[in-house]
Symmetry: C2
């Protein structure tokens, strides 16, 4: 009998954050690709673009004019997916219901609930032609501080205006980078959507983190613990990854951040960036040294991404952390801060992974192992390709 070899045999892995699986088909990258390829990205952008609605001093579609900002700049999205108006009241009978019988058991198929929130945009830098990967560490520290400011401010906003039926709210910080990921402007920027409830992905993650804190066996003695000495799923996991090394892409030992291709990664070069030396629930809990270390590791990961296929690597990135109202009121929270990076490219700057048919109807599927992906990311230069060409 043949012995299982993860780099050769199709297998299935478990994602303990979401309780889902990924099918790994390591032999599959051998197939030839005849499908869609992506247009090359223009890398020569001007430092200032008079047509860009995010550049300093320019006018936006909503009519407002941006200040001549010099670090980061935050404004409310002119086309928000959420509105901060008071919640509308629900009619007694759901408008799409043709029955006034409220005991009708089929009514439960047609449940909707008004929600409230706010959408903000954060420009990372005044220069139109930069990306996080090419910004100075000091500039990225400003971005992290900007995120933290919005997180605190939105928490206060949701708290002061009340959260409707929901006790908790959530602040989703994210960046869609590159046209392939739906970004409609190349100017370096991210978004923040604050909501009067905790959406599915963070809610599922929080459920698994809390379950682990309550039911996991006593972790090995060397593992850092969560609040009240309870097991912390993510710190334990990160700690083990640092010991095993094979999926580690970047590490900063001083500040305690590590970036890995998670064991259960779905996207070919997916990255999970998290603290491994202590449990931290949110951006509010970072020391100045941790903030700086985070900026350093963030930049290094993004430089490796860009160097992999010598292109501005597209991705969606975002932060999962403690829900609102803020942690101060919940010091025992099992929530722990972590960054997800979901980049679509598979083989080159122009060939992406399609998560389609089987992936939409069956489950996530990947074509190279997370260990192979981490190895490739470690093997590229840590100097940005555009800086080497200069």
């Amino acid at each position: 009998t043949v012995t299982f070899e993860p780099n050769e045999h199709p297998h299935r892995r478990y994602n303990p954050l979401l309780g889902k699986h990924v099918l790994v088909s390591p032999h599959r990258t051998k197939r030839p690709w005849k499908g869609q390829t992506e247009a090359p990205v223009l890398t020569k952008l001007p430092a200032y673009d008079p047509e860009c609605y995010l550049c300093p001093g320019n006018a936006r579609s909503g009519g407002d004019r941006n200040p001549k900002y010099t670090e980061t700049f935050v404004f409310e999205n002119d086309f928000p997916a959420l509105l901060s108006d008071p919640l509308p009241s629900m009619p007694d009978i759901h408008p799409s219901s043709d029955s006034s019988d409220s005991s009708n058991p089929t009514a439960s198929f047609f449940e909707s609930r008004p929600v409230r929130g706010r959408c903000k945009v954060i420009c990372f830098h005044p220069r139109h032609d930069l990306t996080l990967a090419r910004m100075d560490e000091e500039d990225i520290v400003h971005v992290v501080e900007g995120w933290r400011g919005i997180y605190e401010e939105e928490g206060a906003m949701l708290r002061s205006t009340g959260g409707g039926d929901e006790a908790e709210g959530h602040v989703q910080i994210f960046e869609n980078r590159g046209a392939m990921m739906g970004a409609s402007a190349p100017h370096p920027h991210g978004q923040v959507w604050s909501l009067s409830y905790v959406p599915d992905e963070p809610a599922t993650t929080l459920y698994h983190l809390e379950k682990h804190a309550q039911t996991a066996p006593e972790p090995p003695a060397d593992h850092p613990r969560g609040p009240d000495g309870r097991p912390s799923l993510l710190v334990s996991y990160a700690w083990e990854e640092v010991k095993r090394k094979e999926r580690v892409v970047e590490i900063d030992e001083d500040s305690g951040w590590v970036a890995v291709v998670p064991f259960w990664a779905t996207w070919p070069y997916e990255i999970l960036l998290l603290p491994y030396k202590r449990h931290i629930s949110s951006l509010c809990g970072l020391t100045p040294e941790e903030t700086r270390g985070l900026a350093k590791v963030l930049k290094r990961v993004l430089v490796r991404f860009d160097n992999l296929f010598s292109c501005p690597f597209p991705y969606s990135m975002g932060i999962h952390q403690a829900p609102l109202p803020p942690l101060a009121s919940k010091p025992d929270s099992s929530a722990s801060i972590h960054f997800h990076f979901y980049p679509p490219l598979l083989r080159s700057a122009s060939v992406r992974k399609f998560l389609v048919g089987f992936e939409m109807l069956g489950e996530a599927q990947r074509d190279l192992t997370p260990e192979q992906a981490a190895e490739k990311l470690r093997s590229v230069s840590d100097v940005h390709y555009l800086e080497r060409q200069q």
Copy 2:
């Protein structure tokens, strides 16, 4: 106070098949689109393409030559994501583990399990330039019969060779249509991946169907029931949709199939196609009249899709039905057959919906209501635009 108006106010809906939510932002389609647009699709294809590896009589990359088939043609994928070899044995220590202590609680982060399966391709028609939308109803009946044949055959295969630790298997029938959905050849074809386990999406659906059968309150007297007279989530839902009409796109009253934009749709023009008059667990349970009715409704839905933006509408489509071993052995199964259609386009043939940042990190989000989408699909012609131009 303002009263809730689903076509105006952001709200959240519940998907009872997956236990997930979707954020609906109906006001959001007003925003201008400056992001990526898709290349137009060449609609004039030859009836036969000597370079196509799916056309009758042509050679495939694996070296085999296709027969001169005249209806449908099924073969094993030359680059399968799954292998039907016997399962490799697991080493005592997981190869990526650096600890021989099997009681190590952190080992559970690094679980992988070898899986077995088979990948097949089904050519829908010998003609290179057709799509399901433009095939005759009779030809689509052949496709449905082809799917049924594979479902039965793969069931027998998984059963005879044993399913490893898993008691059940799954046959995922799907079609990726269009380059935007990762299809690497325009020739009309679908795929079938058979697995030695039930993947996440159908497993979650089965869980919710069974839970409903066990715990739902007694349905109204007019509702068709599932096996043993138990409530059937999907038949009850479809029955209510037929009564309410607002989300119905196509219906065949004779054979009892209905196509709706589900109340909880994620994709802008997502469709759920299912029987509404009786509970049917799989393709094996269809009467000849139901097979023909299914072909009819399938075609009509796809004609409306193509007519919406006058283009070959891209989508991933697939069937969820009873797991294997087949239903005959499980006559009380709460599994019920349904077809999901996930099309990416939002505004036009060239502007898609990006499910990125917030959708990957938060939860599904849509920009027009399912009711608005159904209305648009109903308002287009039911004659294919290419046939009208002739």
